[in-house]
Symmetry: C2
Subunit: 261 residues, 2 copies
Amino acid sequence: PMRIIAIANQKGGVGKTTTAVNLAASLANTGMRVLVIDLDPQGNASTALGVDRQQRRHTIYHALYGDCSLADATTSTAVEGLDLVSATVDLAAVEVELSDREDREALLRGVLGQLNHLPPAQQPQFVLVDCPPTLGLLTINALAAADSLLIPLQAEFLALEGLSYLLRTVETITGKINPGLTIDGVLMTMVDKRNNLSTAVCNDARSHLGALVYETEIPRNVRLSEAPSHGLPVALYDPKCTGAVAYDALAQEFLNRHHLW
Amino acid sequence: PMRIIAIANQKGGVGKTTTAVNLAASLANTGMRVLVIDLDPQGNASTALGVDRQQRRHTIYHALYGDCSLADATTSTAVEGLDLVSATVDLAAVEVELSDREDREALLRGVLGQLNHLPPAQQPQFVLVDCPPTLGLLTINALAAADSLLIPLQAEFLALEGLSYLLRTVETITGKINPGLTIDGVLMTMVDKRNNLSTAVCNDARSHLGALVYETEIPRNVRLSEAPSHGLPVALYDPKCTGAVAYDALAQEFLNRHHLW
Ligand SMILES: Nc1ncnc2c1ncn2[C@@H]1O[C@H](COP(=O)(O)OP(=O)(O)OP(=O)(O)O)[C@@H](O)[C@H]1O
Ligand SMILES: Nc1ncnc2c1ncn2[C@@H]1O[C@H](COP(=O)(O)OP(=O)(O)OP(=O)(O)O)[C@@H](O)[C@H]1O
Ligand SMILES: [Mg+2]
Ligand SMILES: [Mg+2]
């Protein structure tokens, strides 16, 4: 069955886009069919997957408004088995333009429902939704549509602060809008083992959240921040670097959690 | 005269809070009277200045609703000459609750207007507003109230992407809501001279933006990310570290730009 995973955290710059793009590529490299939805008006996931601004004619914005089908807005990427629905800054208008609609929280769920009409062999097995750094209407749409939530957590003090607010928001969502939403896991990112603060934050997260926290940690690795400037996931940019190896390990652990391994 | 500076960039994790808190502290250490407004529901600036959640009884949220005066919501900090108006997650409700009001973009401007009734010797000389990582109603309020905008720009490829959108948004604001808004400058943050990408992004920013970019660059320095866990700006936590020295240099350059030095 298809699984929809929201990748969200209202704290900025914690590795949401880097995780969406590179986990997706690593999953595709194991033979899975994966679709990334760029739900951030910054359009960073689209850039990181090599889709230039000029190529973003039909985007998630148009699909949400019903101006085109999801299939029209879907493009292939440099990775076999990985497709993308891109975003531009137009998407920022959704927060204002659609906020009066009764079904404003369920727009994305409706659009992703179109995937159910595909023959199973063409359906993506995983849909990863990259969220903007807020808990506004776009992220709420992702949580309403998702089966589970993956939370990238930067190994920094300020990043820990916002976690309890995010978890409370998830409880509100499961209570009303999407009772089936579960937490897929918390992923430690930009971990620097030489740095006491980073190690302390990882230990803190594990002692508070236990098995929710992925064993796999993503180390700070400059190749991860270089890859987007080449429009490639790190698996294609530098497959042997520590960042690529970590995201491959994450894909294995992720598949284990979803009993697909 | 009092100057109001918005510190904004919709890209997440680029050093907005770190800059608001540490520039404010360095300015206060030169004898200036400074007020920091935490306009981010994450409340990171409040935490970084040592004001615990339990102490945030009257916040910017209450002042925006008119439930208390700005003076009631203002607290002192560990730094002589630096006061704070704190924030909690309640502030997130503003984006929805106040979006119908005619004056929704000018709420902060109205509240900060209360400072004009203070005797000049008690007025802050600088008000720094820490913004959340979006261009929603809260950041628009900051841009509507501000005399100028300081843009922290992380020395990373993805951070450059959003800059042109931010500059276009500023043009819309100056056209309609706040014709007097200028750009104070662009500050390179988390600069790592050993890293080619970081150096390339700095060079790129300077060639595109010229004199807008501050001479002072803020280096990546772990002491800057440790200081918030002690509730102190870096000037009090580790005054000789490279991060503290850089923010002191920034304060000097900032005062030069405002012809106060
Ligand atoms: N493990 C890592 N090592 C080094 N750099 C990283 C790592 N993960 C992400 N980065 C870089 O850090 C910056 C922030 O990461 P990213 O943009 O993925 O975070 P985000 O949470 O999506 O940000 P936003 O909140 O703006 O959406 C980017 O420049 C990215 O290239
Ligand atoms: N120069 C620096 N060197 C090292 N770490 C830094 C530096 N500047 C900021 N940091 C750390 O990087 C993280 C992001 O910085 P900060 O929270 O100030 O960014 P922000 O733009 O305010 O984020 P948000 O978009 O979530 O509001 C924080 O953990 C902070 O402590
Ligand atoms: Mg992102
Ligand atoms: Mg901040």
